[in-house]
């Protein structure tokens, strides 16, 4: 058994419908010239509508990265009717449409509302979409489904009267396993659900992590928070931040700067002091409400199956492609006879995270047939079919191959994370997508990729770090040098819970043309330096920057 998906009740539906109606009126006022762009800007930003290089971009929330087949079909339809036939999945597990016309935005929000989706709080200085484990419900060592708590956080944070105008944006991650797939230590708040020795569930609460201009690893301020007090404790953290966070400098406004300047101990003391005073009856969810949310997810009944699938083994024997796909993209499921199937959005030559409407439709069909109509979005910009029978993997693979989504490269060198960069984004200094495409092409060879193994490359087109370059094994940051695109490389970053690290700067930034060769040189140096069975991070931590520096800059310096 595993949890299904949260179903909106009449109240949830009313809230997103009312919000969409409100925005329709605001757009009408703007189109009629009753309000200026300056006045309109905060209103559209509250609904996820950005003005980018080419026009309006709409960012749609995918709450904790979970979608139903019907919801994915709705996104496909939006891409087809209102965009150029595709969407872009982001490192925040949202989806962006890059070619939106203002006059269409209200209709899009109505379409989203009809599918129990919204764009609320996908921008602005408020609590953004919560990140949860993309393998929720399928991970073997999970102590509870993190999506139950993520949904509770979604509701609590939606149109929050006190926390809609924070000093800066605010991101929360929830994980419930030892293997953290959410980068929880790099969120404003990371929540790790675990079992105490007495068997009770508890949250470890981490604050002040983040990437961007000044990266910090989140600090634990409470090890064992009883889940029934989650909302009051979050309120205490947010209230402390809202009161004391800096508002004089955009670049020092995130909670990480407040935590670092006060020290984690002092910040924790202020939060505890605030928390003691909070009227918990008013803020915390009653047990009945948590139960209602939990039950609303419904349960998926798995079939009793043998742990191994003869059908899959036989199919693999004759097909190299399927065998490679199973090796890299198919991961164990806690239920015998089932698997987690990862769908890479990093086919060689494609923009990382892009997915066409046709692909979305057919993926939705796959999810309906083979995975209880569920799809997950990962912060690595890939998709997941969480509950697939091993017997069905050959059929899933064949269909994925037919739509160009069977790339067998999950966690390999060509599974590159990249922000939209200068091709789309108004903030970027440099292109990210063409660089990802070129590096991906050079590292796509299956034998090379298999030999290199897990190797994470993250590319951000500017210091805002949407490509999470700080936590890439190889991080690549686009910088502007007198109008030219340059790229600064970092090594040794990791988003993991236990080995969280921010990458070290390798050396001087390189021009666009030299960056792909530099990454290849780093790969070669790793293969030369590594001990048997050593992963890149282990090798790097043992040998340090020197051999990689020599490999990249040897000839020039």
């Amino acid at each position: 058994m595993a949890f299904g998906m949260y179903r909106y009740d009449a109240i949830d539906k009313a809230i997103v419908q009312d919000r969409a109606a409100e925005f329709r009126e605001q757009v009408q006022r703007r189109l009629a010239g009753e309000i200026s762009e300056d006045e309109f800007k905060p209103l559209r930003l509250m609904n996820g509508l950005y003005l980018q290089l080419h026009g309006y971009m709409l960012r749609v929330a995918i709450p904790y990265g979970t979608l139903s087949g019907d919801q994915l079909r709705t996104l496909a339809e939006i891409g087809r009717r209102f965009d150029k036939g595709y969407g872009h999945f982001t490192t925040r597990t949202n989806i962006q449409f890059n070619w939106i016309r203002l006059r269409d935005a209200p209709d899009i929000l109505d379409m989203l509302a009809s599918a129990d989706l919204h764009a609320i709080q996908t921008s602005g200085n408020c609590i953004r979409n919560t990140t949860a484990d993309p393998f929720a419900g399928a991970a073997a060592d999970e102590v509870d489904d993190p999506r139950v708590w993520s949904e509770a956080i979604r509701q609590w944070s939606t149109l929050h009267p006190e926390f809609s105008f924070l000093p800066r944006k605010f991101k929360i991650a929830v994980t419930a396993t030892g293997a953290d797939r959410t980068a929880s230590r790099f969120h404003d708040i990371g929540l790790r659900l675990h079992r105490r020795e007495n068997g009770d569930l508890a949250f470890e609460v981490m604050v002040g992590g983040g990437l961007g201009r000044t990266p910090y690893v989140g600090q634990t301020i409470r090890r064992d928070l009883p889940p029934r007090h989650l909302m009051s404790y979050l309120t205490a953290i947010l209230r402390t931040y809202n009161r004391l966070g800096r508002r004089d400098n955009l670049y020092k406004a995130r909670i990480k700067i407040l935590v670092a300047s006060l020290g984690a101990d002092e910040f924790a003391r202020l939060v505890e002091e605030e928390w003691r005073e909070i009227d918990k009856e008013q803020v915390d969810l009653p047990a009945g409400e948590v139960k209602r949310i939990r039950e609303s997810f419904g349960m998926r009944a798995f079939a009793a199956l043998p742990a191994d699938s003869q059908r899959l083994e036989q199919a693999k024997a004759g097909a190299r492609g399927l065998a490679a796909f199973v090796r890299t993209n198919v991961l164990p499921h806690r239920q015998p006879g089932y698997a987690v199937v990862n769908v890479s959005l990093k086919a060689p030559g494609e923009a990382p995270g892009d997915c066409s409407s046709e692909q979305m439709d057919r993926l939705a069909g796959l999810a309906d047939r083979f995975s209880f109509s569920e799809i997950r979005v990962t912060h690595e910009q890939n998709l997941v079919l969480p509950h697939v029978r091993l017997d069905d993997v050959p059929d899933v693979y064949a269909e994925l191959e037919a739509i160009g989504l069977a790339t067998a490269n999950i966690n390999l060198a060509s599974d590159i994370i990249a922000c939209p960069g200068l091709d789309y984004c108004a903030l970027a200094n440099a292109r990210a997508i063409p660089l990802a495409q070129e590096i991906g092409r050079r590292l796509a060879d299956p034998d090379l990729a298999a030999d290199v193994g897990e190797f994470k490359i993250n590319i951000s087109g500017c210091i805002n770090a949407c490509g999470h370059h700080h936590v890439g094994h190889v991080g690549i940051l686009g910088v502007d040098k007198k109008g030219e695109e340059f790229y600064q490389l970092t090594l040794g970053g990791s988003p993991g819970l236990d080995d969280a690290a921010i990458g070290d700067v390798l050396g001087p930034a390189l021009p666009f043309e030299q960056a792909p060769a530099a990454v290849e040189a780093i790969v070669r140096a790793y293969r030369r330096e590594r001990l048997p069975h050593e992963r890149f991070l282990q090798t790097y931590r043992r040998v340090g920057l020197t051999p990689f520096k020599a490999a990249v800059y040897g000839n020039a310096h």
Binding site: D9, I11, A14, I15, D18, R19, A21, E22, Q26, E39, P42, L43, M46, N125, Q155, W156, T158, L159, H160, P161, E162, F163, S164, F165, L166, P167, R239, N242, R243, R247, E277, D279, E281, Q282, V283, L285, P286, G288, E289, R292
Partner: protein
């Protein structure tokens, strides 16, 4: 335009504000409604204590509402200033005033106050709005009631929107 919410949840326009703002030099009178800065309230607490008419106090976002604790039951008006609508500190100040200090008098938002904030302001405990966008009382009321339900809280702070939690409880009970 000064708009006030009545206890029945109606929004009405008030042409005049009975509170007279006093600057740092003006003596504090014994009667008549006056509005002071928080510094003045603390400095001249004795004179304020002798007053026979309601006193108002204005806070900037950086002022700590805790300083009003000894005065909470005696003030007639607290004004929280928004230098920009993007500065969210007055929302927290309002919640703390109402919930923690038990302040029951008029709570006014001033400064850069737009109708888009109406709903959030009401739910944070404000009941008086010195608007800066020319909203009529009718437009303000419309904005404050645009969303039927709110996820936060168990007890309603404002008449609209209704707390989702309480309504779900009702649904459970029926």
């Amino acid at each position: 335009m000064l708009i006030k919410r009545t206890p029945q949840g109606e929004f009405v326009a008030n042409r005049d504000d009975p509170y007279l703002p006093l600057d740092a030099e003006q003596p504090i009178p014994v009667d008549g409604k006056v509005l002071l800065s928080v510094d003045r309230l603390i400095r001249d607490g004795e004179a304020v204590g002798r007053r026979t008419a309601p006193t108002g106090v204005q806070l900037q976002p950086g002022d700590d509402v805790e300083t009003l604790r000894p005065w909470a039951s005696r003030l007639g008006l607290v004004v929280l200033n928004f230098p920009s609508f993007r500065d969210g500190r007055p929302y927290t100040a309002a919640v703390l005033l109402r919930e923690r200090l038990g302040y029951g008098g008029e709570l006014r938002a001033s400064g850069n106050v737009l109708r888009e904030q109406a709903e959030l302001l009401c739910r944070s405990g404000f009941d008086s709005f010195e608007t800066s966008d020319g909203s009529s009382a009718q437009e303000w009321a419309g904005a404050a009631r645009r969303v039927r339900y709110a996820y936060q809280g168990r007890r309603p702070v404002a008449p609209d929107p209704r707390p989702a939690g309480a309504n779900r409880d009702l649904a459970d009970a029926s």
